[in-house]
Amino acid sequence: MAKVLEIRWHARGGQGAKTAALMLAESVAEMGKYVQGFPEYGPERMGAPIQAFNRISDEPIYIHSNVVNPDIVIVLDPTLIGKANIIDGVPEDGIYIINTTKAPSEVREMLGIKGGRIYTVDANQISLETIGRPIPNTPMMGAFIRATGVIPFDEFMARMREQLAKKFKSKPEVIEGNLKAIERAHQEVKGE
């Protein structure tokens, strides 16, 4: 079986982790890769910690079980660090991409891990400035591409523009805002 890249999103119900996972899947699929995007359907309501998942591969993906050992963890809500099970099952060389004002070293301390690579970006501030509301899900995709390099950024942006155009036909400002947010997060994400 070809290497399948597995991603786990941590967020709160209502923050758009599911939307992000599905949008990422759609964009990556249009770039010719094989993908999966799915949320965890629990009884939890708005505000509760929730998870969503992606798989990305160059070959068809046949497994349909939950992601338990993610290569990449994306945290949408800074207040989840230390609360949700962010480090569960993540291998030594796992990548963490976290929406926070903190520096990667601070986050490393909070998570209590030695290995892995940690990236941080203030996606709340970025989305406030670009979209006008704190919706960190789209900018986190920009940070993800920078941190992992699994897909070419320019091509991703082109696909994203198409998708957003479909979603927000009547709101060009939202489309531009989101694209700007992704771009800024892509630039501003900090590694160690």
Binding site: P43, R45, M46, A48
Partner: protein, 314 residues
């Protein structure tokens, strides 16, 4: 009327740790109703819905009283079965204590899929209180329209689209339907007025025979307003006469609250995302139609309550 000082001393029977959304109206409503049942043994029955899935996720229950969930459409029948068991076992001396029976259902489980079961339970005269937690759509499955959804509302199955601007039909008047069952007590209330909810819950629990209370219990997610504003939004529903407070006691209709002045329906619609599309230019007629419907229903209600059918002064 008891004060909050006194009521706050009553044991809490719907505890924290349930998984309703932050700011959910149901949590508030259920706490108010159970608070009014102070001192009584209570069995709660619940239709499938937000309240049920969020309050009894095995192995945790938020209920400090006996609780039963059966299915979506049968809270009325289920609780009438428990009540029948109570009468049978009481008669035989197998149950010594007194019990009250409360059924909770959302508008889906009450106005729509559970209406038959509810109607049967009421008609048969079981000594139960049925409380509808009306948040005006199927919120548990993700905001689909119900027959309680008001005209014009944008839901996922009555979306505000290019040619159809949201739900096309006015809401069903379930409270009146329940009144037509000629049961001892029927009331409509809203959580902005906690005294009204408390009084009505007390009355409903005290009458011999079936009682029905329809509570407007907003959903911040489905209505798309700012979560902290729940009391304000509910108050606007009452002040605009969109959701009048009234009761029908042994067939006698009584209005419980009369707004002092004419508050236009826009005031209620505006803060809610589900009505946002109505405020686009060209849709003025829709708001006008909604206003006309609210006004005509209000006048009809006043007439039923033996009041002069007139609109509040502008």
């Amino acid at each position: 009327m008891a004060t909050l000082k006194e009521l706050s001393k009553v044991e809490e029977r719907f505890v924290g740790g349930h998984r309703l959304c932050a700011g959910c109206g149901h949590g508030i409503t259920v706490r108010m109703i159970l608070n009014a049942a102070e001192g009584s043994n209570v069995v709660v029955g619940c239709a499938t819905g937000c309240l049920e899935v969020a309050s009894t996720i095995y192995p945790y229950t938020a209920w400090k009283c006996s609780f039963i969930h059966n299915a979506f459409e049968n809270a009325g029948a289920t609780v009438s079965g428990v009540e029948a068991a109570y009468r049978a076992l009481k008669k035989k001396g197998k149950v010594k204590e007194d019990f009250k029976f409360i059924a909770f259902g959302g508008d889906g489980g009450t106005y729509d899929i559970g209406l038959q079961s509810l109607s049967g339970a009421m008609e048969r005269g079981h000594n139960i209180v049925y409380v509808c937690l009306d948040n005006e759509a199927y919120m548990n499955t993700g905001i689909q329209r119900s027959s309680a959804t008001p005209i014009g509302a944008d839901t996922t199955t009555s979306p505000a689209g290019k040619v159809i601007p949201g739900k096309q039909q006015p809401r069903k008047d379930l409270t009146a339907i329940m009144a037509a069952h000629n049961i001892p007590y029927v009331a409509q209330t809203a959580i902005n007025n906690w005294q009204d909810v408390h009084k009505k819950a007390k009355k409903a629990l005290e009458v011999e025979g079936p009682a029905f209370i329809n509570v407007l219990s907003p959903c911040p997610r489905g209505w798309r307003y700012n979560t902290p504003d729940i009391v304000e939004i509910t108050k606007l529903a009452v002040e605009t006469r969109f959701w009048p407070l009234f009761e029908v006691e042994n067939g006698k209709w009584k209005l419980n609250y009369k707004p002092k002045k004419y508050v236009p329906i826009e005031e209620f619609l505006k803060p809610q995302g589900r009505f946002r599309h109505l405020f686009k230019p060209g849709n003025e007629h829709l708001i006008k139609a909604i206003q006309e419907e609210v006004d005509s229903r209000w006048l009809a209600l006043l007439e039923r309550c033996g009041e002069t059918p007139e609109l509040p002064p502008r």
